[in-house]
Amino acid sequence: MFEILRKSLKTGIVTERYPQTPPQISPLARGRPEIDFGNWKDARPAAAVCPTGAIAYSDQGGERATTFDLGKCIFCGLCAEADPAIRVTNRCELAATRKTALQFSATYKLLPDGSHERLLSAPSPAPSSRVPRSPDPAVENLGRKIRRRATDIFGRSLHIREVDAGSCNGCEIEIVGLTGPVYDIERFGIHFVASPRHADMLLVTGPVTRNMELALRKTYDAMPAPRLVVAVGACGCSGGIFGTNYATRGGVDQVLPVDVYIPGCPPNPHALLHGILLAMGRRRLSLIPQSDNLII
């Protein structure tokens, strides 16, 4: 007992001060890839090496539409090796409240040799191609109000129920890390709880397998309202490298309404904290100013 006390005193406090201080991340870490859309000459090499289709293009009528989807990106960095217009940064605070805020598209004039030139449309978050969940504006407005009210309620303390809906357990390694002495999520008044009945937030990993779909729905149904859903990792955001197949649904929002998406494979603990605080309304959307985000 005395030995343990002595060791604890000797070790001192190891907890980080994030978000007051910037994330402690190696400059060599692979975070968000940045595409120099203005000088991008050819989307084909990067699209060919991208294992998840996060970088993709389609050619039509002499034009090439390119897309980059952070929600699908597994941060392998292969695109940057294949294409000088792409650079890997170590930025990890990438969470967003809308999936479309993670998707970027740009259109180019197609050249005869298959490369492209001259930006025809400025790169921007892709317009929402999905039909909105509730087309009625009154319902949408109400939904926004409820959400604001929910973040007011959750602003001070939050209980999280984690559900692995088919992940590879990579995300779990980092989520468990949040409860350790270095990240210490309890300093925010956030606790992981055993029962969905005690939970305000559902933190979901994995592409949602067919076998976990029912358990995930039941867990969500067991939570009291208001409640938040956070999709974690490339799989949670989009299905990731597994996508949609006979055994997977292709992301959490195929099954539940999602409030915040946290990209990463897996997202590191800072990225997770950023996303959770964002969902609580305690962190402003760092939606990356466009000029900084996209080099034009």
Binding site: D164, V182, Y246, A247
Partner: protein, 531 residues
């Protein structure tokens, strides 16, 4: 590629024993012997290899080649541990008689693997003691996803209800405690049904495969370079081990060997993966018996390793480092010095963690003689890795099967007979200590030169086995190549698939409150099992 004299003489002796009814195929990668035999001879062949060659059946799987041969192929992979050789037996299942004989009565270790074949390929098991569905849940429609005529992206109709019937356990005062698939902690999903009488557990039934995500089928739908990234997501805690096993299989199919520097960096990364997982497990075992301080220390140490991983490879779980033909990036002076400082700081801190746990008598009391897996049961179930070594299994692929990955590395397999939680933890402690010296061994004398060999075009229709001793146990990837740098089949064998049934034998007699620590002492991967 000339087979070594050993391989040739083993092949000849086995062939002679079966007097021409078993054919040794040519052009197998080094260290593998390929045999062809009719289905009726599989049981006899297995018996011969077990008795005369002290073999272990490490993987059983099927391959749909009806388009080429109008048959399915079954493969049986045997490890001849003492000789460092794998025997791969191939037996055809004719397309007009879709059934195969079970070996599970003689070799219980293949129980789940055989049922997986039945579920995924629609080949009926004959003579299996428990031929119920395993890999596909009971309420799935009647589909066989790994057949070639099944579309990976096929949308299946909504499943209706839960229809799994657990075995009934009856008696006065017996009641059932269902747990999962969503558990209380932050862990993976699986369902456990405890039958208890008073405090002690009488019987434990496992239902897994909740995280099945079509991984093996996905390998058939992507180029091999993408396959390396997919392999990293088979089990996140073994990202590097699985990706390296996959690369190993592809390299063997292509007849390419990574250069010496790449092999050394691979070995170091494998040991880093072992170190961070073992430390995390030691802490988690402590926390499961209420010793939270030790876990906090362990989590701090694990974080140090993860941050070093990030500096060394760009990713905390070592993702992106595995590459076909070698590794993803070279380590400059800054990186190697980051590793050196980890090696200076970590070992004394690790020893203080071990001291803290060993000096806590209340912790020791909970760990000793808890969750015993006897060596006899472990041998029957073919238990490998940490759990195997705590129950008398004395093998580690880093030894006789290391190829040229671990040559000359200082290393001794820790083996215990007690088979309880304490000794599963002790194996981890011993292995972490050895990992430190293995990493030092490679870093003190890191070979110069290239970090990757060119794979070039992958020849079509080759088969090869790749393997790695991951931190949890032995990992196998078996591939059959297709034209255009693709795969026609990739079979993944995570040690979890082998070890999960052990839990049902280690639990009875213990109380439910000891289940978390027993489960953690095995720490099996759900995702690696379910794929």
């Amino acid at each position: 590629m000339n087979p070594s004299p050993d391989v040739a003489s083993i092949a000849a002796r086995v062939q002679a024993y079966f007097a021409g009814r078993v054919a040794a195929a040519h052009a197998a990668p080094p260290g593998e012997i390929h045999f062809d035999a009719p289905l009726a001879l599989v049981a006899g062949f297995s018996g011969h290899l077990y008795k005369k060659w002290n073999a272990r059946l490490v993987s059983v799987f099927a391959d749909d080649v009806r388009a080429q041969t109008r048959a399915f192929h079954l493969y049986y992979v045997f490890a001849l541990d003492a000789l460092g050789v794998f025997c791969v037996l191939r037996a055809p299942v004719p397309g007009d008689k879709l059934e195969f004989p079970s070996l599970a009565n003689a070799i219980p270790a293949v129980d789940w693997q055989e049922r997986e074949i039945q579920d995924w390929f629609g080949l009926k098991l004959v003579g299996h003691p428990n031929p119920r569905r395993c890999a596909l849940h009971d309420h799935w429609p009647d589909v066989h996803p790994l057949r070639k005529d099944f579309d990976l992206r096929a949308p299946l109709p909504p499943f209706s209800g839960e229809s799994h019937k657990f075995r009934e356990v009856e008696g006065e005062g017996v009641f059932q405690v269902p747990v999962g698939p969503v558990h209380a902690g932050v862990i993976e999903p699986g369902h456990f049904l405890f039958s208890v009488a008073g405090e002690p557990v009488l019987y434990l039934q496992l239902r897994l495969f909740y995280t099945h995500k079509a991984t093996e089928k996905l390998f058939e739908a992507m180029p091999v370079t993408h396959g390396v990234r997919l392999a990293e997501s088979i089990s996140g805690d073994s990202s590097f081990a699985h990706a390296t096993a996959f690369c190993h299989a592809i390299e063997r199919a292509a007849g390419v060997e990574p250069p010496p520097r790449a092999r050394a960096l691979r070995a170091v990364c494998l040991e880093l993966e072992r170190v961070y997982n073992h430390i995390a497990d030691i802490g988690a075992i402590a926390t499961d018996v209420g010793f939270a301080v030790a876990n906090m220390l362990a989590m701090r140490l694990k974080e140090k390793v993860l941050r070093t991983n990030e500096q060394l490879t760009g990713n905390r779980l070592l993702r992106g480092m595995a590459r076909l033909g070698g590794v993803g990036l070279d380590w400059d002076a800054a990186r190697t010095s980051a590793l050196s400082s980890l090696l200076a700081e970590l070992p004394p801190e690790f020893e203080s963690l071990v001291d803290m746990i060993e000096n806590s008598s209340s912790t020791q009391d909970r760990l000793q003689r808890t969750g015993i897996l006897t060596p006899a049961v472990a041998r029957d179930l073919g238990i490998v890795g940490i759990a195997g070594r705590a129950s008398g299994f004395c093998h580690d692929l880093r030894g006789n099967f290391s190829g040229r990955l671990y040559e000359r590395a200082p290393f001794r397999v820790p083996v215990y007979q007690a088979g309880d939680v304490k000794h599963r933890m002790q194996v981890r402690v011993d292995e972490v200590r050895q990992s430190f010296s293995i990493i030092r061994h490679f870093m003190d004398d890191l070979p110069e030169g290239a970090i990757r060999a060119e794979i070039g075009g992958l020849p079509a229709d080759r088969t090869a086995l790749g393997w790695v001793e991951g931190w949890r146990g032995e990992i196998f990837h078996w591939v059959r190549t297709a034209p255009g740098n693709r795969l026609a089949r990739c079979k993944i064998k995570d040690p979890s698939l082998q070890n999960w049934p052990a839990l049902s034998h280690a639990i009875p007699g213990n109380i439910i409150p000891d289940f978390p620590v027993i489960n953690k002492s095995f720490n099996l991967s759900y995702s690696g099992n379910d794929r």
